[in-house]
Symmetry: C2
Subunit: 229 residues, 2 copies
């Protein structure tokens, strides 16, 4: 465990000294591309155009991929930090600006350890017909509980997470919220839920623990991420 | 709850009488398109081509989306059943042949209630740098436990799911397995885990319950899905 964390983990938090203006510019470039790809994921599931058109589109998409791959990162995106310390988890599958898998969640937070957001889930998040896949709810709640612990100054990695499914969550407009329940040293317990217009559909509680390598970095006043995912 | 299940849920399980040959043909058309879109999701995160090229690609992707949307399903894909009763959860975000969010998992199962698969997670599934997002592990394990219960003839919807994160799960080649622990009437308890080459990284246990509408359909010998997500 320590080996994995000490190598891949710390190395992945990169401070690149980008200014706020540069970050805003990058958002204006990559956000619309990601939105277009997200629409393509949805259209790929739902389209009923004829097979020749599907094949033609496939070839075009393959061509676009080849162009984008002429210059690319060797591995995953990681989490970057700009000059002001503002984090950019742009590859994250729930909140990442450059990840078309992300709905995306645009999360509000408060320093008392609360996080909340409204979001929309369409065809790409379906499990049982018309309903959100139970694992997608888990994915979103893991992120939201982590956001709450980070917002409250008690960041950690998920140690345990328990989901209670009260009823099916319909696809469509939803909201999620999470909050710190209590904290003892490096351990923080958080709770949260997803709700539709009629109320809570899924509840979650989790234990988040600040890993040793992060404690050492904090002690050394090194650049330390505020959120772990 | 009953309302949601009784309307959206049952309606979404559609028997369309497609033959095995027709299904295989459809797989040959849609599988490669979905693979190409999955590559595009990855390339969108990792590309470092210049901004003009990003913008050009965005416009092309938007054009492709418009073409695919000239004829499409009104809502989500649902779960279809062919003439032999073989299910096609092709919109599913973990196993769906037409869902570029899905890694995809290609799951083996046995009738004693076991399910297992090998899979690869790249940049699109990253949480902490270099590691799988904890919520993605939850998403995969929810599916795998559900697959095990269905394989053992004890299908159900997730009622509770608990994840224990033993260490970070590195991006890359992974495997997952799940099995039925015990069953009492409409309730089935399942367990499972994700592992890398060095062993288990995340464990899960869950309770799955067969909903009332499905019990009524089984009693009436109506077409009944074997898996709920």
């Amino acid at each position: 465990m320590e080996h994995v964390l000490a190598s891949g983990f710390v190395a992945g938090y990169q401070r690149d000294e980008m200014t706020e203006a540069e970050i805003e510019y990058e958002k204006s470039v990559y956000g619309p591309l990601t939105d277009a790809v997200r629409e393509l994921v949805d259209a790929t599931i739902r389209t009923t155009v004829d097979d020749d058109e599907i094949k033609a589109v496939q070839v075009e998409v393959e061509g676009i991929v080849a162009r984008l791959r002429t210059s690319q990162l060797e591995g995953a995106y990681g989490v970057r930090y700009g000059a002001t310390g503002r984090g950019r988890p742009w590859g994250n599958p729930t909140v990442g600006l450059r990840n078309a898998i992300a709905p995306p969640l645009v999360v509000d937070r408060s320093s008392d350890g609360r996080a909340w957001c409204g979001f929309h889930l369409g065809a790409a998040y379906e499990g049982p017909p018309g309903l959100v896949h139970g694992g997608v709810s888990a994915l979103i709640l893991d992120q939201m509980l982590g956001e709450a612990t980070g917002a409250g100054g008690k960041p950690g990695m998920t140690a345990t997470l328990t989901l209670r499914y009260r009823r099916g969550t319909p696809l469509g407009d939803l909201r999620a919220e999470a909050w710190i329940e209590r904290s003892e040293g490096i351990k923080t317990w958080a709770r949260g839920h997803i709700a539709d217009a009629e109320g809570v559909t899924v509840e979650a509680e989790g234990l988040f623990i600040l890993p040793r390598w992060a404690r050492e970095r904090i002690a050394a006043e090194a650049a330390t991420p505020k959120y772990f995912e």
